[in-house]
């Protein structure tokens, strides 16, 4: 069974695919909805703005098919960075835009003291687990990951947050709800530790098959 990396014109597809392969996945880059027929899990990467991301998902016919797979079929899903944010109800970047709406919440710009904290939040930062989570189970040592973002996901129900990060304000570094896994950091760019997170996602995905 394959892991589908969704190509919607916005992702660092190559990096994500190669990292997933290094973590042991059989990857297919899905360029159209019919590519999802034989997949066990879905990864939505993302480099870009919220508004453009949704425009591309709509334009390429991904919105309904992804929602069916993830929300109705409960297929394991990993959203990375913009791919995390698009799961929200709405996003603020370049004007209010309706998101996929799988996890109620809004995506807002980091609101921090600009003298002390630069935005974008760019670089390596520690995260802190707020509750047990499938993606982080059994990982020891400092949880330091690579972040590149100016916006963050504020879920309506904060209990879905599985890890937080602090950059002048505390924000959701990871969200987990049933089959939906969202990370604001880039596991595919976080060297060995990042690959471990991808391995955890794969282990969960394949365990369900």
């Amino acid at each position: 069974m394959k892991i589908a990396v969704i190509d919607y014109g916005m992702g660092n597809l190559h990096s994500v695919s190669k990292a997933l392969e290094a973590a042991g996945a059989d990857v297919v880059v899905a360029t159209q909805p019919s590519d999802l027929q034989t997949t066990a899990g879905i990864v939505l990467p993302g480099v870009g703005s919220f508004a453009e991301g949704m425009r591309q998902l709509h334009g390429r016919g991904w919105v309904d098919v992804l929602t069916n797979k993830v929300v109705i079929d409960h297929m394991p899903f990993l959203g990375i960075c913009l791919g995390m944010q698009l799961a929200a109800t709405t996003g603020d970047e370049h004007g209010p835009t309706q998101g996929l709406g799988w996890i109620p919440g809004v995506v807002q710009r980091l609101d921090v003291d600009g003298k002390a904290f630069k935005v974008p939040h760019m670089g390596w930062n520690d995260i802190e687990l707020s509750r047990p989570s499938d993606l982080f189970t059994g990982i020891r040592g400092a949880l330091t990951f690579y972040f590149v973002h100016s916006y963050h996901f504020v879920p309506s129900d904060s209990s879905v947050i599985s890890a937080v990060c602090d950059h002048g304000q505390r924000f959701a570094a990871a969200i987990e709800k049933d089959n939906i896994h969202l990370v604001q950091f880039h596991p595919e760019k976080s060297q060995t530790l990042g690959l471990k997170i991808l391995e955890k996602f794969l282990a969960k995905t394949y365990a369900e098959k």
């Binding site: 190559h14 480099v47 935005v119 974008p120 760019m122 690579y146 590149v148 880039h186 760019k189």
Partner: protein, 252 residues
Amino acid sequence: MLKNRIIPILLLKNGRCVKGKQFGNFRDTGAPVSAAKVYDAQRVDELVFLDILASKEERDILLPIVTETAQECFMPLTVGGGIKTIEDMKVLFAAGADKICINTAAVENPQLILEASQYFGRANIVVAIDYRENSDGLREVYTHAGTRTTGLNALAWCRTVDGLGAGEIILTSIDREGSMSGYDLEFIRQVTQLVSVPVIAHGGAGTLAHLKEGVTVGGASGVAAASIFHFTDQSPIKARAYLKDNQVNVRV
């Protein structure tokens, strides 16, 4: 808390790494993918490829290097050199670049910064600014790999690119580049106090103490260097240990 980054910069020419002094006298320093793998093994925080020839033909050579690096190194990769359009950027992002760095094109067409940051997200667009101190003591922006004057005041240009949507600024003092005499700390400090985005200090780091000063005196979010890692026995591993021992917040 966000860590300060240690960032090797690899200058590329005809598909090879080169290193010079004040943007000239380039010496071959090896194959870029091998160099990237070594840095990845040393767990550097990020890597920057800057292609100094910046021609269309050159980009055809650069592309497979980016692809291959991204296949083997799971760390952040910034790529720059001759990028002029959104289409150029799309190709490099697809190949595995995480951030795109523009320099000359940003000066020639400042709207490109705005368009790129709207399209790809501000965080992924880096503006590199190369400057020299002119005879009046003013710092002036240079383009085309340090060969052309622009008349632009470097500090004012930093403010402009911040306003247009640059997600990060790599600030390079041409006078100090390759000199190993230390960063242009006074100016770096002025810029870090002026702009809202992260600033990467580049040009002049010759000792580990210089790297530290970039953060503690200059206020830079990251310190970039080439010569110190190529031509001395200082590795990013030693740099990280030194900075940590000196209370700089780095990744361990």
